[in-house]
């Protein structure tokens, strides 16, 4: 093995690989979920993604281990199986998490390997890393699906565990670099940001970023509630109601009225 393919031996920690994913980027995609997150968003639907540690969650009454250490080569064995579908749909590999940037070498190597297969790449991330780290990844990344949850640093810290300063700053730099297609994604969470004013704040910011044309608003859902139980943790959102379609349509209209962005409901 020459160094040229050294990236195939990079190891990282994932907790799932999901095939035929059609709601996270262009075409039919395989999502690799990296374990470990910097934030602790109250509405998080993948609580098993948050800790970097391997942990056991009860699923349908049975214990199931979440988290395994794998090489890029092993991950690619699965990713390459759907090549026929990627080539028909312009699909490919999407990294999700957790926050992929907490394992920057691994994330970069995965994207590099996907590019070597000739498939498109995307990453769902809130940009929680030094910009230099992100900049090293961008040459291998076709689409950056970047979460921006709120423009108010304090409220962000309150609901997600950290302020948003670094991430907002990174969004500006990523957009300015012009190296990737940047799409902004906003989870619409009751009590947190489900007002027109708060969403418009984010949309206006997104609109100010050069090259950004699309914003996706994702209605909060409680499908993850059972996982909290499975992990023996309380569900932070309680009985919060899911935003109705009518409400989401209203937000979409408001965003498109007030910005030049195309707004999509759902990913």
């Amino acid at each position: 093995m020459t160094d040229e393919y050294g990236y195939l031996n990079v190891t990282g920690r994932i907790f799932d690989i999901q095939r035929y994913s059609i709601h996270d980027g262009i075409g039919i995609r395989t999502i690799v979920f990296l374990k470990g997150c910097a934030l602790r968003c109250r509405w998080c639907c993948n609580p098993e993604s948050q800790n970097f540690d391997i942990e056991t969650m009860t699923v349908n009454g049975k214990p199931k281990v979440y988290g395994r250490d794998v090489t890029v080569r092993e991950v690619m064995q699965t990713v390459r199986r759907d090549m026929p579908y990627y080539s028909r749909s312009d699909g490919g590999l999407t990294l999700s998490g957790g926050e992929s940037l907490l394992q920057p070498e691994f994330a970069k190597a995965l994207l590099q390997a996907a590019k070597a297969l000739g498939v498109s790449t995307a990453m769902e991330s809130m940009g929680f890393a030094k910009y230099e780290t992100i900049d090293g990844i961008l040459p291998y990344l076709d689409t950056y699906l970047m979460d921006i949850k709120h423009m108010d640093a304090k409220k962000h810290a309150d609901w997600c565990g950290r302020e948003n300063t670094l991430m907002v700053e990174n969004a500006r730099k990523i957009a300015a670099s012009g190296k990737t297609k940047l799409i902004i994604r906003v989870p619409v969470v009751p009590g947190f940001n489900d007002t027109e004013r708060e969403l418009l704040d984010i949309a206006r910011f997104a609109d100010s970023l050069p090259g950004v044309e699309e914003i996706d608003i994702l209605p909060y859902h409680n499908f993850g509630e059972g996982k909290y139980t499975g992990l023996g943790r309380p569900y932070p959102m309680g009985n919060a109601a899911r935003p109705g379609m009518e409400k989401m349509e209203g937000f979409k209209a408001a965003i498109e009225r007030n910005t030049d962005l195309y707004c999509q409901i759902g990913g």
Partner: protein, 843 residues
């Protein structure tokens, strides 16, 4: 690529009303046809069979009561009541008399039958005693074949009890030449028959029968012309009066003469479609490439400005309604196997022209839209996909799929065409293929494919490996040795192959016996007139008159057998977790999960037999007590636990359907055990056998005849359908399932394969979803998959429909090679559909 206009046209009020009228009442059995054919046969004793058939066909068409339903534009009804059915005692009749009092209340496909009809049928049915095709077929079968059928290795029920059907005829010739043209050709052939010809009499009588039959259809159409005229005279609404007068004009012109307009072409099509089904009781009379043969008339009228696209759509919608007006009552067991009142009239759009260009045209889209408009199970609409297919057509097809109706089915030209060529079909004919019935590729107007020739349950020979050929205490198959003598996986496989080969030969014996019976007792002159080369060879279809002849029996249970072999390989021979003997015991004990009534009754019958042999007296109380004992039998707890453990180990193994090479390779090999031997056998019509891998809906009733299998499947539960993975065993999503299925050699199953997939509506909501869905189909087809069909409905909806059928009368689901109204399906089939692969997701 040809230019086309794909703009959707609206559904009209007329269509809504026609559909509502069609479903206003429960379907009903009518006695007229049975009376007419019996009357005719009584008067023609002693004449050649083909002449008698033609005379009977004429007598039926002259005597059947006719009706024009309110608002119809395309006319011709086989029964007075909408969706009614006639009976066909010349093929079989005993089952219906036996079921007179239950047919109205059975769960699968009930029919109303009046006391008067019962009485009238009771009068004519006895005439047919000893004269039916099924009786003759039985007399031709080998004793071991009858035994194999008794032990449920296969069932050739379809053609054993009914007409064959399963053809696509030259609708185009009737539309563009008229029956007049076909009669002229026949007359010419009649002239050519030389007195010295060894087949002089056969040929003359057959060709005369063709002419009698064609004339009978022309006269039948004229009856409709007269009826339309007399109704027009009575009609007070001037608009409807005009319509009726136009119908009168049309029916006095077609199908005798070439159609002058698109509308006349459709009416000619309909008379053919309807009368072929009156001639025989065969189902799966498939319209095939409707968008191709209707197009020249459509194009001409549109260009001339005499037809609008709106009206063309309404007319097509009317034809779709008519296709649902035809019906067929099957025996209770077959009704389970073909559940859903389906006639499997397969109609396919898109694909390639015989010279290999994209065939998409306006009508391809309008046919798909018609299915959306009428939203009924007929026709079974299909789409051909090839590398050059218009993407737009695929997206329109996906829009229909999204409605949850289960249509269209998707077919891959890139594998079907070469697979047909490999069976000796020339490339132009192969490129022109259509689909018959469920999934069977077929050359339009040139083939007698005998598709659907039998259901072969691939799990039963596997059971016989474990019992050394013994079933319910009797030797029922070849002896492959006691289990102790099987010491390796290779030997185990060899034993299975031996069991398969033995029973496949018997299946061939059964089909050929039935084939001969049809040749002798059911030559069909009208159907023959419309298929090459029956007229030029002066030979009925049933005696080998077609240009291409095949027999296509279908196997199923690949997923179960593949997973079973994998379990035996890994757990018995590699890891030595248990022995074959212990596994055999676990299977016999249904993995410790208790016994159902089927097992209990089998045990009681066996005990009864033994007692009878010993000369002991048997009484009902004893039988009842044995049944009770078996039903309540408790295994010792440690034994039960062990069997459960064994099942757990099996379930935890990787399974077919998850894109795992090792298992999928076994599945490929298992399919070969069925597909490879068949083409070595010949049928009496001069063709060969070719395998299909699809179950219609028989995987449920035939699963009920199958004990526990080594893949962890419990006794009498459904067997996996078609080439699909076992329900609930495919956990890696649709692409993984597709990859596994694509790993089979579909080209070798040239009589068709069937891959059922269930999609959740949420995966098909946006335009992007539809494009990705189309890419999924494309990606599967790029890997040489043959066929795909989808149920798009959520589990909750189906459960609710089961609980409250009244709310879901219109809920159409994909069953197998066809769709049906969910609430008309038997409970067990409903359960199977609910279980069917909605691919597992963690999140």
């Amino acid at each position: 690529m040809r230019a086309f206009d794909s703009t959707p046209m609206p559904k009209t009020e007329r269509i809504t009303k026609l559909v509502a009228d069609l479903f206003a009442k429960m379907p009903e059995i009518e006695p007229a046809r049975a009376e007419l054919i019996t009357e005719s046969f009584r008067s023609s004793e002693g004449l050649p069979i083909v002449t008698r058939k033609a005379m009977a066909f004429r007598h039926i068409l002259n005597g059947l009561p006719i009706v024009i339903r309110p608002g119809e534009l395309i006319v011709g009804s086989t029964t007075l009541a909408p969706r009614g059915c006639q009976t066909y005692p010349e093929f079989s009749y005993e089952w219906l008399e036996a079921e007179f009092d239950t047919v109205e209340h059975r769960t699968a496909d009930p029919f109303y039958i009046s006391e008067e009809t019962k009485e009238r049928l009771r009068k004519v049915n006895p005439y047919w005693k000893g004269k039916t095709t099924s009786e003759l077929a039985r007399s031709y079968m080998a004793p071991e074949t009858l035994r194999a059928m008794d032990h449920n290795f296969f069932t050739p029920g379809n053609y054993y009890y009914n007409g064959v059907g399963h053809v696509n005829v030259h609708y185009d010739r009737v539309i563009y030449e008229g029956l007049k043209g076909i009669m002229a050709q026949t007359a010419e052939e009649l002239e050519k028959v030389e007195p010295g010809d060894p087949r002089y009499g056969d040929k003359k009588r057959f060709l005369e029968a063709v002419i009698i039959s064609c004339q009978a259809v022309i006269d039948y159409a004229r009856r409709y012309a007269d009826l339309a005229k007399s109704e027009a005279e009575k009609e007070s609404d001037p608009k409807r009066r005009e319509e009726l007068l136009k119908i009168a004009k049309t029916c006095s012109h077609v199908p005798e003469n070439p159609a002058r307009t698109f509308e006349e072409g459709l009416q000619a099509f309909w008379f053919v479609q309807q009368t072929i089904q009156i001639e025989s009781s065969g189902h799966s009379i498939s319209p095939g490439r409707f968008d191709q043969y209707m197009y020249p008339l459509y194009e001409r009228d549109i260009e001339a400005g005499t037809l609008t696209r709106e009206y063309a759509q309404e007319l097509i919608d009317c034809v779709w309604v008519k296709l649902n007006d035809l019906n067929k009552c099957r025996d209770a067991a077959s009704a389970e196997g073909f559940s859903g009142y389906s006639l499997f009239q397969n109609l396919i759009v898109g694909g390639q022209t015989p010279d290999g260009r994209d065939a998409t045209n306006d009508l391809s889209f309008m046919c798909l839209d018609a299915t959306k408009h009428v939203f009924l199970p007929q026709p079974s609409i299909s789409i051909r996909v090839w590398n050059g297919s218009a993407k737009e057509l695929l997206i329109r097809a996906a829009e229909v799929t999204r409605t949850g109706i289960g249509f269209p089915a998707y077919y891959n030209d890139e594998i079907i065409i070469p697979s047909m060529e490999n069976r000796g079909i020339n490339i132009e004919d192969a490129r022109n293929y259509c689909i018959i019935g469920c999934v069977e590729p077929h050359v339009p107007g040139k083939e007698d494919g005998w598709h659907d020739a039998a259901f072969f349950n691939m799990c039963r020979p596997l059971e016989m490996v474990f019992t050394n050929g013994v079933d319910n205490g009797e030797v029922a198959s070849i002896r492959t040795g006691e289990l102790e003598t099987i010491t390796s996986y290779e030997e185990f496989k060899a034993a299975y192959k031996k069991q398969m080969d033995y029973n496949i030969a018997l299946l061939v014996n059964a089909d050929n016996a039935i084939d001969r019976a049809h040749a002798e007792r059911a030559p069909l002159p009208f159907e023959s007139a419309l298929i090459d080369d029956c007229i030029s060879r002066a030979t009925p279809l049933q005696q080998g008159g077609a240009h291409y002849n095949f027999t296509g029996p279908q196997g199923f249970g690949i997923a179960n057998v593949a997973d079973s072999l994998y379990a035996v390989k890994t757990l018995v021979f590699e890891q030595k977790k248990f022995t074959l003997k212990e596994l055999a015991k676990a299977l016999a004990m249904n993995y410790g999960q208790g016994f159902d009534e089927i097992t209990a009754k089998e045990a009681a019958m066996q005990a009864g037999k033994i007692m009878a042999e010993k000369g002991e007296e048997i009484n009902e109380n004893m039988i009842a007590s044995i049944i009770q004992k078996v039903l309540t039998m408790e295994l010792p707890p440690e034994e039960k636990k062990r069997y459960e453990e064994i099942r757990e180990m099996i379930i935890d193994l990787p399974h077919y359907g998850n894109d795992i090479d090792e298992v999928d390779t076994i599945a490929r090999e298992v399919a070969y055990y069925y597909t490879k031997p068949l083409p070595q056998y010949k049928n009496p019509r001069g063709g060969i056998f070719q395998a299909g891998l699809y179950p219609v809906s028989a995987n449920v009733p035939l699963g009920a005849q199958t004990g526990a299998t080594p893949d962890g499947r419990l006794a009498h539960t459904p067997v996996a359908d078609g080439v699909s993975p076992t329900s609930g065993y495919d956990l890696n999503g649709p692409t993984a399932s597709c990859n596994s299925v694509a790993r089979l050699d579909h080209a070798d199953a040239s009589n068709g394969t069937l891959f059922n997939m269930k999609m959740h509506p949420s995966a098909m909501s946006t335009r992007k979803d539809l494009e990705d869905f189309a890419s999924l189909v494309r990606g599967f087809f790029d890997q040489k998959g043959m066929h795909m069909q989808f149920n798009v409905v959520d589990r909750q909806t189906l459960l609710d429909a089961q609980a409250h059928p009244e709310k879901y009368a219109g809920l159409v689901v994909r069953v197998a090679g066809y769709s049906a109204l969910f609430t008309t399906l038997s409970k067990s089939l409903q359960d199977d559909i609910i279980r069917r692969t909605e691919q597992g997701r963690d999140r």
